[in-house]
């Protein structure tokens, strides 16, 4: 029999208006219990991150109060929040790339020796202990700039746990994790819950909410739509509350009609920035009119493959032919002029210029185009008109096209990037985690777009950690493992998730077998 759990924290009638006039939270109330995992749900721009920033002392609320353990408190800074036992993992990384994992974890709460010095030995020890405790396999002496995104996310979580949070805010922690990693994280979250801690979990993936959360508060356009027991509400009802309409994520797609080869990779070996070989003699081709899905555990060479194809890195041997032409000597601009579009995986690092406005970001890949630029000056009118169209078409939630991209919600930043890439009418699309952090409605939209492009004869490479996405979109499906394809499936409908998992972990590996037979 379960006792009614006690309330640890209440946010009452929170109102937050940003300085540019955006009302991000309107009269939102949230009640958290001890020992629960509480989901916060809502479309992109609904105000989830804002509410959490208020709770963590980053953004002062314009109205409303916070009641912690029965007494009203003001949380004035992150420092204040941390000292009150609140920890937060932000939607976008808050790590220092030039420091090691251990340094990042202990930053601000450094163990000392002889009073004045950092006890680095102790720091490394403490960091590895906490990593071990939560079953995260991380080399704590590695520099953060050298580790893959999935590990970075784990470091963020450890950072919060190391500070001993009783209330842990996780803003879309699973967006960058693979299903296996997500499952591992969930085991840890359950442990925390059983410890009597409270976890606030933000995610756009409703099955995750179902799987792990006790209660869910749903937000729409800055307002709360109520709190529900997760057992008692269907995912359909959840998305209806979020979006205000039914969302269909499954669609019947026509079988692919592959045409000529648009992209060919021949015997590619690619290296990461440290010079470690990550892609091993990989060869494949993608035809117009098909989507090649690439699944795999992060760090198996996907990033290096994509960087090579898009011209971001020249650290490779072998050949990459775009419409039959070798692109090694091409500039990135040259490659893009051959009608290749790229949605990068890390939207803040390489997807956008966060201090520029939406319009400038939308045109950063085509401002030299004659349609948008005269001999000397940009054709501002045309650009403005086109920006408005794109913002409307791609459902970017913003005040105006002059708003700084960095001030948009995470999902809306992603939409700006997708709009930019799709608006050039590409022939080849490299989509790396295209719907990461995007709400259900917009996810549906982007997936449909990808299919539209395919049907129009575009060659698409889709790299995604979201197996649903991979299964529902791919015409061919490849699994990347240790720098090569451990399996390639043409009959995607008949691949099971278990089978795929075995290929992802290298338990099954057609490539190795084929290699051995040679």
């Amino acid at each position: 029999m379960e006792l009614a759990k006690e309330t640890v924290l209440e946010m009452q009638h929170i109102m937050k208006i940003y300085s540019n006039g955006v009302v991000a939270n309107k009269d939102v109330s949230l009640e958290l219990k001890k020992g629960e995992i509480h989901a916060l749900l809502g479309e992109n721009g609904a105000g989830k991150s804002t509410l959490m920033k208020v709770l963590f002392g980053i953004e002062p609320p314009d109205q409303g109060k916070i009641i912690l353990n029965g007494s009203e408190t003001a949380i004035r800074s992150p420092q204040d929040a941390i000292s009150k036992g609140i920890g937060m993992v932000h939607q976008h990384f808050m790590l220092l790339p030039s420091l090691t994992v251990a340094e990042n974890i202990i930053l601000g709460v450094e163990p000392r020796k002889k009073k004045f010095f950092i006890d680095m030995k102790q720091a490394v020890k403490a960091a590895s202990e906490i990593a071990e405790k939560y079953n995260f396999d991380i080399d704590v002496t590695a520099k953060v700039e050298e580790i893959p995104v999935g590990i970075k996310q784990k470091v963020e979580i450890l950072k919060a746990l190391y500070r001993g949070a009783d209330i842990l805010i996780l803003d879309e922690p699973t967006a960058v994790l693979t299903p296996q990693e997500t499952e591992e994280l969930f085991v840890q979250l359950e442990k925390l819950r059983d410890d009597g801690r409270t976890v606030i979990f933000i995610s756009h993936k409703l099955d995750e909410i179902k799987r792990i959360c006790d209660r869910a508060t749903i937000m729409r356009s800055g307002k709360s739509m109520g709190t529900y027991n997760v057992d008692e509400i269907s995912t359909n009802d959840m998305s209806k509350l979020m979006v205000g309409r039914e969302v269909v994520l499954e669609f019947d797609k026509e079988p692919a009609k592959p045409r000529e080869v648009l992209l060919e990779v021949r015997n590619l070996s690619a290296y990461n920035t440290q010079g470690v070989q990550k892609v091993n003699g990989l060869s494949f081709e993608v035809r117009g009119g098909e989507i090649l899905g690439i699944a795999g555990v992060e760090g198996n060479g996907q990033s290096e493959l994509i960087d090579a194809i898009t011209g971001l890195s020249r650290k490779y041997t072998g050949e990459i032919l775009l419409k039959g032409e070798d692109i090694r000597k091409e500039s990135i601009k040259g490659i893009r002029e051959k009608k290749l579009a790229h949605i990068p995986e890390d939207r803040m690092a390489s997807g956008c210029a966060s201090h520029l406005n939406i319009q400038e970001n939308l045109f950063s890949n085509q401002y030299t185009d004659d349609a948008y630029s005269g001999k000397l000056l940009l054709r501002t009118k045309t650009i403005q008109k086109r920006s408005d169209e794109l913002i409307k078409e791609y459902l970017v939630k913003c005040k105006s096209q002059k708003q700084e991209v960095g001030m948009l919600s995470g999902g809306n930043i992603q939409k700006v990037i997708v709009a930019r890439e799709f608006s050039t009418g590409p022939d080849v699309i490299i989509a790396n985690q295209p719907t990461r952090g995007i709400d259900v409605g917009a996810t549906e939209f982007i997936r449909r777009k990808l299919l539209e492009f395919r049907d129009a004869g575009c060659a698409v490479i889709l790299v995604s950690a979201d197996l649903n996405e991979i299964f529902s979109l791919s015409d061919r499906l490849a699994v990347m493992y240790k720098g090569n394809f451990s399996g390639v499936f043409t009959d995607v409908a008949h691949v099971t998730e278990e089978e795929l998992g075995q290929y992802m972990l290298g338990i099954k590996n057609d490539h190795r077998k084929a290699g051995a037979a040679k």
């Binding site: 980053i58 800074s77 808050m94 790590l95 601000g108 450094e110 004045f116 950092i118 290296y271």
Partner: protein
């Protein structure tokens, strides 16, 4: 001339000329690591060289003069920080203002305090002592270099080590680097970036004032108008070429010192002095070019073909 280059005198000249720049380079490094470009080094040097003369004469002691000058340096750093962090003045504009104030202000202040115009001829200041090391000074060459240096030169070398340890081994140093690299990230773990930047700028001011003190109490024995003569800017360049690390900054400063000492030697030849005076600045330019070239090389080293 070759004989001159390998003499102890030459090495001494390098060290002597590098001392003020080295302090300022370290000062620049700390500020930059915290995310602020301290372009006010020039003015800070100038103020400190005047106050050094005044304070050492008031206290009749080198140490008293130095400590009070360091205090003033810290206050100037604090003022700069106040404008940049509190009043949100642009850091470059604030620095330019400070440099301009220093140019006129020091002359005015000198006139008010002593009645001297342009040089502190009537102030009897105390210079930093020369350190003679018994026995060692008898060793040829080595003894001549190790012994007979100004105490401030030793302090500058010591400061390289201290600042290095401070930045890389202490919690405060880690916080300074964190704030400089990504303010938001640092704040998200509860570090107050404002406080850290205040501290960094105050320390920067203190270090820089030691360089200024040496200018008028070691390098020369009085204050003269505009005596910093661009050393603050050279230090800024040296620090950034040394990736704003104390060790890197030290190496580059030494390189500049060598260039300048060479230049001084060349003044004995028939080469026009104007050309020779360009040497420190020219080395800065060449150094920067070499630096960016090696960075580029390193980046593309892994690129195949």
């Amino acid at each position: 001339m070759a004989g001159n280059i390998f003499s102890a005198d030459f090495v001494n000249a390098i060290l002597r000329m590098s001392t003020p720049i080295l302090f300022a380079t370290l000062a620049s490094g700390i500020a930059s690591k915290s995310g602020i470009t301290n372009m006010a080094l020039e003015g800070m040097l100038l103020f400190a060289s005047l106050f050094g003369v005044i304070f050492s004469s008031l206290t009749h002691s080198f140490l008293g003069g130095l400590l009070l000058t360091m205090l003033i340096g810290g206050l100037i750093g604090l003022a700069l920080a106040f404008f940049i962090l509190q009043l949100k003045t642009d850091e470059i504009l604030a620095a330019i203002a400070l440099n301009l104030i220093a140019t006129g202000g020091t002359v005015l202040l000198l006139l008010a305090v002593s009645g001297d115009r342009g040089a502190s001829t009537s102030i009897s200041s105390v210079s930093a002592p020369i350190v003679h090391i018994p026995f060692v000074e008898k060793i040829p060459f080595l003894g001549e270099v190790l012994s007979g240096q100004n105490l401030m030169t030793w302090l500058a070398l010591l400061a390289v080590v201290v600042v290095h340890v401070f930045l890389y081994k202490t919690p405060m140093g880690l916080k300074i680097r964190a704030v400089g690299e990504n303010k938001n990230a640092a704040e998200s773990v509860g570090i107050s970036s404002k406080k850290i930047q205040y501290i960094a700028l105050v320390l920067s001011g203190v270090l820089c004032s030691m360089g200024g003190y040496f200018l008028s109490g070691g390098y020369m024995n009085m204050f003269t108008k505009d005596m910093s003569a661009g050393k603050g800017f050279i230090a800024l360049a040296a620090s950034s070429m040394g990736a704003d690390t104390p060790i890197g900054g030290f190496l580059v400063t030494m390189l500049f010192g060598i260039a300048q000492a060479l230049g001084n030697l060349m003044q004995l030849t028939t080469i026009p002095t104007e050309l020779i005076q360009m040497i420190p600045y020219l080395t800065t330019l060449i150094g920067l070019a070499v630096y960016s070239y090696t960075v580029m090389k390193r980046k593309s080293r892994l690129g195949v073909h």
